[in-house]
Every structure is written in structure tokens, then in C-alpha cells.
Symmetry: C2
Subunit: 267 residues, 2 copies
């Protein structure tokens, strides 16, 4: 079982930023990635639909022998994690709790910011996780859907991107925030602009790294760490594999051989 791959799914290709962090943190693990490009984006969909998609994605990963499932998508983590954790026979980990832990590492005033998709914000999952961990802390959340479109278009650092960032982030620029959680896998690519627009006192928290560390802890605890021969990675998408060739390197930090297409609605 230890030799089995670590399953990762996302609504699209943004979750590859979590794969990149997993490569850094768990270089021995084989990764099995599914990006639901055929049904992207999740952030504007209803909770029931998101939960149905998450179940299908997890079933696909298990059908390929995944020993654990990382839900790299913030929206799916926010809406579907409790249900998946109950339904699946393998450990499941999401990006919400690790992101909140990483933000609390910078705790000062206890004011934590969140930018995410409309679906993630509406779920209140980050707020609930924060309340469980630190009842004195307080979260302010902003839905920033244009950031997703800007990254998809490759406009990560244009004058328009800066104007949009100024509009979205102005609520966080009053000098009282400890940290801003980047609650969508696309947003770390905007880090230079976000850094410029925000006061230097606000830490930018990327859920990908925090999730990779939490995954290492989980695999260690469960005795599931892989050792031995070089790992093998496989990438699947539900549509438009040619986009993997374009956006993949942006998120993975390097080019990688192609993605295979899967008919996810059959799972």
C-alpha cells in the first residue's frame, strides 16, 4: 500500500500548485492527479453539484489505487470534505484547515483575511475552521472571481491586474490584519501584485505549502510514507488536455509530459 500513489484532485489545473508543494515536501511519493477541466470552475456552482463532482473525482482516484486523497480545490474542500472523509476508505485531506493553521502562525491582532471564490466564501468553511482553532480570532472574507480569470488569461502582472487587486484588497489595507489566506489555487501566481498592493505587515498565506506539510504528517502518522524506487507521476484531466501543456508549467514550475483524458461522469 505504501507504494501506491497519492491521489490529488482539483477543479482544474490550479491544484498543480499543490503537486509542486508535494514534490518539495514529499519527493518520494508518486502523484496521481485529476484536474476536472471539463467542469471547471467550481467556485460559481451550488454546494450539491460540487459535492457530486467531488465524489466522482475521489472514486476515479481510488479506482487507480490512491492510498490517500488530497482535495487541492478550495471550493471542494470547503463544501465536500466532511462527506468525503466519511465516505472514503482512505485518509482525506483538504486545503482549508492547513491554510488556517498557517495563517495563525502569524497571529497578532487575530484579524485574518481570506480571498477566495464565491463558493468558498459562501461555504463559511474557513471561518468555521478558524473559530474551532482560535475563538478570539476574526475572519474577513472577499470573493475575488476576477483573479481566477486573470490567471487563466496569463495576466498575472498587468496594470489592470493591479487595479483589480487594489479594489478587492482595500478592506485588508487598514493596518490591522495579521495574514491574508490565498484561498484559491490560482491566487499564489498573483503574489507579486498582491505583495505590492498590501501593506508589508500582512503575511500572504498559500494553502499549497501548508497542505503539503499536513499531508506529510498524515502519511507519517498512518505509516503510509513511500520509500524506494523513483516515484511515477500521472496526470488526468476531463477535457482540453492541450491546456495542461500551457498552464501546467505555470503551476508546476516545470514542463511535464502530457495529461490523459478521463470521462469523469462515468465514475
Amino acid at each position: 500500500l505504501n507504494d501506491a500513489p497519492l491521489g490529488v484532485f482539483d477543479s482544474g489545473l490550479g491544484g498543480l500548485s499543490v503537486v509542486r508543494a508535494l514534490w518539495d515536501t514529499l519527493p518520494g511519493e508518486s502523484i496521481l492527479y485529476f484536474g476536472d477541466t471539463g467542469r471547471f470552475p467550481y467556485g460559481t456552482r451550488s454546494p450539491e453539484v460540487i459535492r457530486r463532482f467531488a465524489r466522482q473525482n475521489a472514486r476515479f482516484l481510488l479506482s487507480h489505487g490512491a492510498k490517500a486523497v488530497v482535495v487541492a480545490c478550495n471550493t471542494a474542500s470547503a463544501h465536500a470534505l466532511p462527506e468525503l472523509a466519511q465516505a472514503l476508505s482512505v485518509p482525506v485531506i483538504g486545503v482549508v484547515e492547513p491554510g488556517v493553521d498557517a495563517a495563525l502562525a502569524h497571529r497578532g491582532t487575530g484579524n485574518i483575511g481570506l480571498i477566495a471564490t464565491a463558493g468558498t466564501v459562501a461555504s463559511r468553511a474557513y471561518e468555521q475552521a478558524l473559530a474551532r482553532k482560535d475563538s478570539e480570532a476574526h475572519m474577513t472574507s472577499i470573493a475575488a472571481p476576477l483573479f481566477v480569470a486573470l490567471v487563466e488569461e496569463g495576466w498575472t502582472n498587468t496594470p489592470a491586474t493591479r487595479l483589480i487587486a487594489e479594489e478587492y484588497l482595500k478592506v485588508f489595507n487598514n493596518g490591522t490584519f495579521d495574514a491574508l489566506i490565498l484561498g484559491c489555487t490560482h491566487f499564489p501566481l498573483l503574489r507579486p501584485v498582491l505583495r505590492d498592493v498590501l501593506g508589508a505587515g500582512v503575511a500572504l498565506v498559500d494553502g499549497a505549502e501548508a497542505t503539503a506539510h499536513a499531508t506529510r504528517e498524515l502519511l507519517t502518522t498512518k505509516g503510509l510514507l513511500r520509500e524506494g524506487a523513483a516515484p511515477e507521476h500521472r496526470f488526468f484531466v476531463s477535457d482540453a488536455p492541450e491546456k495542461f501543456a500551457i498552464l501546467g508549467p505555470l503551476f508546476l514550475g516545470k514542463a511535464f509530459n502530457g495529461a490523459e483524458v478521463v470521462a469523469i461522469e462515468d465514475f
Copy 2:
């Protein structure tokens, strides 16, 4: 049969701008609208997936007795119209041909511009329609996916919208273009900004009105015009009906009673 509703489908709610134009042009017709909000957007998907979605949408409209089908979505018109026209037992009309006709009404140099989704541009459907109608004319096409996100966010006239429009439209600002086709149902909402950014000599062509006129012609020719009692309109979506209440008035020009939800994958 004449009393049957006119079916209209779109990838989401943008097609409501076509309904608005149909209300103006064909005030006696009952409209049966399906917005595929659960699978929006189509503009980034592959041709095969778009054709499958279009078939399901048309089957749903026919199951409710539609006497004709208007494909209000540019991406679906571009990829699926020939197949639908062959497969369906009722007349089918798309937005591409009417949009090209409307642009050619402004013909001078024969340089016609197009802004659309990536899927519509890649299909070359507008270019092919133009070539069939006027072999001396020439089309320049730009994919403008951020415009969709800006309209969905309600940012139809902000400084960032203007910067993005300046970037997308600069190729059309050399004084040689007769007309710019707004090849996505969302784009007419950006008309004030587009008007400001473009030189006054370029006509802005909205496919919605042209499609409504072509639909009136078609119904007249086929003897399918409705007469008599007040028409009845029904609106269906595949997810998130609450968005209909928010975006609907933007596209329809007035508020309307709610949308019903349909499980489109069953059709």
C-alpha cells in the same frame, strides 16, 4: 404548433439578451429559455463537449414542445449548429450568420473585427460565414475571456474594465475597421466602455438584435408566427437559480419571476 413556444438556449444567462431582443421583435411569441449555468462557461471547452451539451439542451427544449430552437450561445452556434440543424425536426437558428449580416450592413473597407470567447474564435465559424457571404471581406478575431468574467462580476464600467478593453481592442483601433462584432452574449453590456475605447468610425454589432430579426423572418417563412392570447414565458437553468434573480434583470432589462432547475444531464 404556432402556439408552441420558441425555444432558446445558452451556456448561461447571457442568452437572456437574445430573449430581450426577441421580446422587442416578436412580442407575441412565448419563450422557453434554458441557461446551462451548471456547465457554464462553454467558451473554454473542447468542440466535442460543446456539441454534446448542445444536443442535450436542444432535446430538453423539444421535450417541452419548442417549435423552433434559437442557439443564443455564440460558442455553441459556432461549433454545433450544422449538426443540430441536421439532427432536429424543427428549424434551428444561431447567432453567427445574423451577426455577420449585421456587420456587412456597415461594409466599407471590408475589414470586420470579432471579439468572442476562445472557443468561438478557435472554431473559425465567423470567418467562414463571412467568406461565404463576401469573399473580399476580411476578419480579425480576438479572444476576450476576461470580458466574460468582468460582466459576471458586474464590473461593466470600471477603470480596470477600460484598461482591459484598451488592451484587447488595440488591434481594431487603426482606422481601417468597418465594424466590430460582439461575438458573446455578455459583451453588449460593455458597450459604453467599448464605444469610448474604439474610434467612432467602428460600428458595434450586437448579434442579439440581428438574431431576433432573423428569427422573425424564419417564423414568417415557415408560417409559424404566433397570434392571439398573451404569451407565456418560462425560464430554466441547470444550477444556481438564485443567480437568475441577480443577473437576469441585467440582461433582460427588467426583473422576471424565478427560474426552474432542470437536471440537463438526463436529456
